[in-house]
Symmetry: C2
Subunit: 342 residues, 2 copies
DNA sequence: GGTTTTGTTGACAACGCTGTCAGCTTGCTG
DNA sequence: CAGCAAGCTGACAGCGTTGTCAACAAAACC
């Protein structure tokens, strides 16, 4: 009752509640086979003593570390990482799990060794695997071999019987392209994303579908390969704008590249969106901070990360596998970098 | 010798080396009073068996959790956080420490309770305390009360006998202002940073000093309060540009606000830097991605975080306190948002 | 050379939980 | 109402370290 100076242990709770430590353990871990009255009694003592199980003892005694690892590509957009982390943490913390971060620098020939070391050293029980790590074949393979469950966020090829968090990239790309078509654009350039990212193919597919639906011709000359970075976006824009019949709109597979396109357009004295409409993907922090603010697509990353962490923890806790989630909806954010063709 | 299927324990090492487990423990923890020959023998076995001490057992047996906490303001610039985290992790990982992140949303009336809970639950041994958390009086006070050491990064008032990582914000601000003066600007607006950030006062001081050195009059009308966010930067720019004698250059206390200024200038049809020179602080990710790329000041955050984590771990390991570090140097990055007065 | 001091090593008890298993209660069956 | 299964509870042995303390060896001292 009096605020103890030293932290309460399971023994203190057991004594106060008049039961054995094992029963306290059962209650705290929500195990079955405890009478309701006993359970209540224990829970009261737990509250009164502000008992918090000692994580180290728990891990040593049982076999569970309650550590969830979040590995990610270090070069990823920070806002993406931040949303990812916040979402996962928001679920892990109240569930009593510790979330550990581990950046990875790609390409990394020793990536499996790095992940293995991290998993072993940090005693990671399960991984949240955001893009593009889920797309590297060796990463899921390693985790399967190590028998560590994981929740893949937007993997290229969702494996059945595993946790996959998807979003309808393709549909969003389709809508964005359609938006430009509706605005009167007929020559629409497209800058592909990094080929190692599953999302790249989907975004490209959505673009082609929209052209098809509106019976616009597809021209390979209007499509350039990019790598999700500013410079490759600028370089691609340079090529596209040098075309004999340059596009009146350019769709870049992410905002960084779109920013590169704007940069290149400005350098040529083109007005955006007057002379050239530009749209991106991801709604990064600076999308609304540059001039003109960027039309783009927003993924509900935080929600996706929450769901990933939640399903993963359910699995770690031995819950029955849930039915696969429906893909998350992306949202097209229309700002001022796109306009009707003059 | 043969690759064991299960992880080696201290007993395995002891048996292989022909010593007691206690001696192995001594060697692994670099304790004194072990003969060199014995030490070598043990270390060889450690390597051969790939022995890694079990962190949970270590914590339970001894009292050290080897967890370093990094608490931060969630609204902070992502690139700042990213550099901070990478720097700290880079030191913690090889030192055998786990780095745990905990975002905080300010203002938070229960901040001390949140930090206390985090420290207790995660058994944090020491904190890295980046700006602006070191500037809130209650945070250092709480940690002192809990007797948890911390390394403050750019605190407003560095406490003696504690770990403080400083940088010469003021000198950098001075240089930046001087740059504008050298470019012929005589009416230079200044947008202050958030009053809760220690850096705000320093940046402002550097500005005033530069004016003074060059005998330019200081006018309070040219100074507006901002809050480090885009909107407050834009609002401040609006006021400044409405002045009867508007400034020909504006210095914003961070890049977000500088972006707001550019935004406002564009909205008024002003050309940057033709009609208005603009400079910021922090060299955030988008500084070089907007048009025009921003003249700004770069702090060596990664290095500062590395130093913070290193000194903190030294302290946790009981090393003698080092002499205080000299402040880190900021670097003025000159890009295209500033130019000579026409 | 005996005695003290210092250095080196090991035995063993924590640390605070969970897992196993046995024992005691209930409630149910026939 | 005996007999048995299922539900509930507790005793106790780990889990892999570190801390304490005692024992012994080596070096330093008088």
């Amino acid at each position: 009752m009096n605020p103890e100076r030293t932290k309460a242990t399971i023994f203190d709770v057991a004594r106060q509640a008049g039961v054995s430590i094992k029963t306290v353990s059962r209650v705290v871990n929500n195990e079955p086979n405890v009478r309701q009255r006993t359970r209540d009694k224990v829970l009261r003592s737990v509250r009164e003593l502000r008992y918090q199980p000692n994580a180290a003892a728990r891990e040593l005694g049982g076999k569970r570390s309650r550590v969830v690892g979040l590995i990610y590509e270090n070069a990823q957009e920070f806002s993406y990482l931040n949303d990812l982390f916040n979402g996962a943490l928001h679920i892990c913390e109240p569930a009593g799990y510790t979330l550990l971060l581990r950046p990875l620098t790609l390409p990394d020939p020793e990536i499996t060794e790095h992940i293995r070391q991290f998993a072993l050293n940090a005693r990671v029980e399960g991984f949240v695997l955001p893009a593009p790590l889920g797309d590297l074949p060796e990463v899921p393979a390693l985790l399967r071999e190590m028998k560590i469950p994981f929740a893949a966020i937007t993997p290229r090829e969702p494996a059945p019987d595993e946790i996959n968090i998807l979003c309808n990239d393709e549909a969003a790309s389709f809508s964005l392209t359609e938006l430009l078509i509706d605005q009167g654009h007929r020559t629409i350039g497209f800058i592909k994303g990094h080929p190692d990212h599953g999302a790249s193919a989907k975004r490209f597919a959505g673009y082609r579908q929209a052209l098809k639906k509106h019976s616009l011709p597809y021209s390979a000359r209007l499509v350039r390969q990019g790598y999700f970075d500013f410079d490759s976006g600028q370089a691609a824009a340079d090529k596209l704008l040098n075309l004999p019949e340059p596009p009146s709109a350019i769709l870049a597979s992410n905002d960084d590249m779109a920013a590169g396109v704007i940069f290149e357009a400005r350098g040529r004295g083109l007005s955006v969106p007057g002379d050239l409409s530009i749209a991106g993907f991801d709604d990064t922090r600076f999308s609304s901070r540059i001039w003109p603010p960027l039309t783009t697509v927003r993924q509900p990353i935080t929600k996706m990360a929450e769901t990933a962490a939640g399903l993963l923890i359910d699995k770690l806790n031995g819950s029955a596998a849930k039915a696969p989630e429906a893909p998350f909806e992306c949202e097209v954010v229309i700002r001022e970098s796109t306009a009707h063709l003059a």
